[in-house]
């Protein structure tokens, strides 16, 4: 085990130190120590021990090769052997999540009880280090941004479809008044198609949709739309902050180069990639990295110089002090080593590594009581947890532990690094579809929303249109007639023109309603089945509809991106069809199937009777008949209109 330890420690104080070390190590050591022997490929074994010699804090590549082999074994059908290999590559690397998930899946399929443990471990590892966290974050954020924008657009397009009759009626009418050509009934669709042909970009389309929909949609839809719009505005305005995630996808970024230090042994490529960093803001970190790499290679003088330089530039850098202490430790200068470790404790008193290294230094100074105190402190602060999470460290057979960049440090480096970047990544990615900078989208949408609200407050006659209270076809104040107490479209009022008997009018209106709305609802039902969420939106269940669209859009985007928009360049390409295809497609299908069960909008079933006191007696009651709608009726008509829209 620890050769130095056995050589220099006197037996009298041996037991205290022994207990704490052996007991703690006993649990993980055998499994890890055996694991190297379990590697059957001699090349890989050689490679791995080389990596360890070059101070690898993690055996990512070895683990990956083993994982590949395991997958091949799994595909050949030998699941027991595959499970062994998966377990091996899972134990050999402390932060590689994929083997855990595959293991969990294989075990689940063969009803093995360990699957839950492996699943949880996999989930823990998924966000285990900086690169995984930031990659996950940027993918999630980009998915959310895209899905929200697309959902907003889709919801508006579906609402446009829902209210198209009303909007088109107004367009048609105000157009036909001025021009006879081209015919008014084409104009609405013509405007839409030519706008689409112009490819003006999502920003302008979204604003136009907001402006044209606002006057006709109901309150609930307005709330839902404004919520989505505000979300998109918020994303757009906070886009500069998303840049903190760029280092996750930029393999050349300083942050990423630093983070690579935590993944493999030192080789020329890694060393050079850090040496060539010329950003003046990161000299302390660069020196720390170079010092640590040199330490791992055993070049202690170079390491000391670099680490001293790092510490002189940044006094609050516990990892630099720790590794500097290690350099002195290796050069047998235990007092300076202890000073380094104490500096770590001064900054972060909970550092298990520092306490452990202090313990080791005291052992070398023959101060066993202090040593045992320090080691106890180390185990209190979780040295075991560190060991369990870093199997490679255990394989390296170390006296003192060094540390690379911790996750939080990498995040802060990423933050500092991205501050210098004026361009926004999301902007670059979305510009081709928006045609304007992503940051402007917020202002454009906000302006559109405000304008729509102001205009709708004024209720310009140009924009008001509503459904005929009998047959539900579009009509407007100009062509509707409400002398009967119902707001009727031109066609409905034509059918009862000149009649005086309520009975006949009702019979005619009822007949017409059945004819018109019957044909409409059946047509609509067939079409809504194809568009996600439209059945809900059409039947007035706005919130459910928007959630459904959101889910389906997210799944569809993931499907298009084959999992994630920014894949891990150092990850295995996702070959498992389950998450990439089957899961996503089944999500879409399930939402769709549920949507098919939504009952279509209930056309008003209650027979809308003309007001009982209403009689057009041309001679006697003409005055009251024309007066009443003006004074009393509009209120009830509005209310009725609201309830009618809600029931749509």
């Amino acid at each position: 085990m620890n050769r130095l330890f056995f050589q220099e420690v006197k037996a009298s104080h041996l037991y205290t130190a022994l207990l704490s070390v052996i007991v703690s190590v006993a649990f993980c050591m055998p499994a890890v120590a055996n694991s190297l022997d379990n590697i059957s490929n001699p090349n890989l074994k050689e490679f791995t021990s080389n990596e360890l010699r070059r101070g690898a804090p993690s055996l990512y590549t070895t683990s990956r090769v083993l994982y590949r082999e395991a997958i091949e074994t799994l595909e050949s059908g030998d699941w027991e052997k595959a499970r062994e290999k998966l377990t091996l590559c899972a134990t050999i690397s402390g932060d590689y999540a994929d083997p855990m998930f595959t293991l969990a899946r294989v075990e689940l399929m063969h009803a093995h009880p360990d699957f839950l443990y492996h699943l949880i471990e996999g989930i823990k590892r998924t966000a285990g280090n900086y690169h995984r966290q930031s990659l996950l974050a940027i993918n999630l954020l980009f998915l959310i941004v895209c899905a929200t924008t697309v959902t907003l657009l889709m919801a508006m397009v579906i609402l446009l479809w829902k209210y198209w009759r009303l909007i088109e009626h107004r367009i048609n009418e105000s157009y036909s008044k001025r021009f006879a050509f081209p015919p008014g009934r084409f104009i609405g669709s013509l405007i839409i198609i030519s706008l689409l042909f112009m490819r003006l970009g999502i920003a302008i389309y979204a604003s136009l949709l907001i402006l044209s929909l606002w006057p006709v949609i109901n309150k609930r839809e307005r709330t839902a739309l404004s919520f989505l719009t505000v979300l998109v505005i918020a994303f757009s305005l906070s886009a500069p902050f998303s840049n903190v995630l760029i280092p996750a996808v930029d393999e050349g970024s300083i942050t990423r180069r630093f983070s690579m230090m935590n993944m493999s042994g030192v080789d020329g490529e890694l060393y050079n990639s850090i040496r060539t960093i010329d950003n003046r803001d990161f000299i302390a970190e660069k020196d720390f990295a170079l010092g640590t790499l040199n330490y791992r290679l055993g070049r202690y003088d170079m390491a000391r110089q670099a680490l001293l330089s790092s510490v002189s530039r940044r006094s609050d850098f516990p990892q630099a002090y720790l590794n500097l202490g290690n350099v002195y430790f290796m050069q047998a200068d235990y007092n300076k080593a202890l000073a380094g470790y104490q500096s770590v404790i001064a900054i972060d008193s909970t550092s298990a590594l520092a306490h452990f290294n202090i313990g080791q230094a005291y052992i070398n100074k023959m101060l066993f009581a202090q040593s045992s105190r320090a080691l106890k402190k180390a185990s209190v602060e979780g040295i075991e947890k560190y060991r369990a999470g870093h199997p490679a460290v255990m394989l390296r057979d170390l006296t003192v532990y060094d540390e690379g960049f911790p996750t939080t440090e990498l995040w802060s480096i990423a933050w500092r690094e991205s501050r210098g970047q004026n361009d926004i990544l999301f902007d670059k990615l979305l510009r081709p579809y928006l045609l304007i900078p992503f940051g402007w989208l917020g202002y454009v949408l906000a302006a559109a929303l405000m304008t729509a609200m102001v205009l709708s407050r004024k209720t310009l006659a140009l924009f008001t249109a509503f459904n005929c209270e009998n047959c539900g076809s579009a009509t407007c104040p100009e062509c509707s007639e409400d002398t009967t107490g119902l707001r009727l479209c031109a066609d409905c009022s034509k059918t009862i023109r000149g009649l005086s008997s309520v009975k006949v009018m009702e019979a005619l209106l009822r007949h017409r309603r059945q004819k018109v709305s019957g044909s409409r609802s059946s047509r609509k039902r067939l079409k809504t089945a194809f568009v996600p969420g439209s059945t809900w939106l059409m039947s007035g269940k706005t919130h459910r509809g928007i959630i459904a669209i959101y889910v389906e859009v997210s799944a569809a985007l993931s499907l298009i991106w084959a999992g994630m928009y920014f894949p891990d360049p150092r990850g295995l390409p996702l070959t498992d069809p389950f998450f990439r295809v089957i899961f996503l497609i089944s999500v879409i299908l399930v939402v769709h199937l549920i949507s098919l069960r939504v009952r279509p909008a209930r056309e008003q079933k209650n027979f809308r009777v003309l007001p009982p006191d209403f009689r057009i007696d041309p001679v006697v009651e003409k005055e009251t008949a024309t007066e009443r709608p003006a004074s009393v009726e509009p209120k009830t008509n509005d209310q009725r209109f609201e309830t009618f829209l809600d029931s749509l």
């Binding site: 090349n43 890989l44 050689e46 490679f47 791995t48 590549t61 990956r64 090769v65 590949r68 082999e69 050509f181 081209p182 015919p183 084409f186 013509l190 198609i193 030519s194 706008l195 042909f197 112009m198 490819r199 760029i246 280092p247 996808v249 930029d250 393999e251 050349g252 970024s253 300083i254 010329d278 690094e417 991205s418 210098g420 970047q421 361009d423 926004i424 990544l425 902007d427 670059k428 990615l429 510009r431 081709p432 045609l435 304007i436 059918t495 000149g498 009649l499 005086s500 008997s501 009975k503 006949v504 019979a507 005619l508 009822r510 007949h511 017409r512 894949p567 360049p569 150092r570 390409p573």
Partner: protein, 377 residues
Amino acid sequence: MALEGNAKDFGLSEIFQLISIQKKSGMLSIVAEENIAIFFQDGMIMSTRDRRNKSKDPLKDYLLRYGFIDRDEMNNLQQIQSGSNMDLTEILLSEKYFSEDELTAIFAEQIYESIHEVLSCPKSQYKFVIGKNVLSGIKSYASLKVEGVLMESMRRIDEFPEMRRIFPSEDMIFQKNPSSSTDKEPDLSGNEEVIYDLLQHERTLEYLVSHSRMARFCTYESLKRLLETGLLEFREAEKAEPEKIPEKTVKTRKDKRKRFVPTFAIMIILVASFAVGEYLVPWLMPPGWKARTSGTLTASVPETAGLTVNPDELRIRSLKATISQGLDEYYGSMGSYPFTLEVLAIRNFISGPTLELVQQAGIRYRMNDNGGAYSLQ
């Protein structure tokens, strides 16, 4: 049970009487020049309107023929009828064309006329379907005794030839006798007064029949009586037929042009908007604002030292990372680096598409040091 046969063998009037005496309910359908159905309830005549025969309604014909309702109004009523599924009589009552009493009178008169027509037709087949269920849905405003109807019909059949002799042509023109109507209004009653009032100007017989609001026989009868009292006089006259101008051909040509021009205009608008999207929109955008991504990777991406947000450069950087990871893994499992990247792809350390991208991006790979090292680009 059905009763059927030929009117030659057993006269229709006998059938009527049989039904009446036995107080039967049911439908007597008669096939003659015109088909007709007569509905009986407990031996009384209820109606001659068969709801199942939508094309022909004797009441409608009656109302039209004698000027109760003019053609336009009737079209309107018919539209209402088809739009509301209501019976004509209901609409007439609801819309207050007639009061209930008036309708009853008209209804009865119409039954008289229908029976008169049936009885005056010599050849006919009849069939009587007994049962009250055939009466369902039949609206009736009169219930007439068979004897009364038969007697009246017989009287009309007897007197009609005489009327025909007096009024041989529909084009006869009637007018008030100027000598008799000088000082005061004659004392007339009922139908005669109606006819007399219609003759403010001279009128043809056709006009009188179609405006008198009574059966043809009654008009004839009234006219005959008025002539006898000397209040009227008549003469024969001829009429000129109006010409019709053909205008169909002109219309279709106009239609064609009407259809062609909008299509053309719409096409132009669409093409124009497509052009706007293709040329004007990109031209309007500030330099550097790309409208569309190129889609393929190019090697000409300028290399920046630090963080980049250029999607192409990001892609190349991650491509390089993918390759070097693949190379490391290859080295790990084989002990040396491969000769070419193709080997890497064949051994599945990188995917085929990745290799294609590498070639597109122009990344050069070289193995150094006998497989112990490598360089990229």
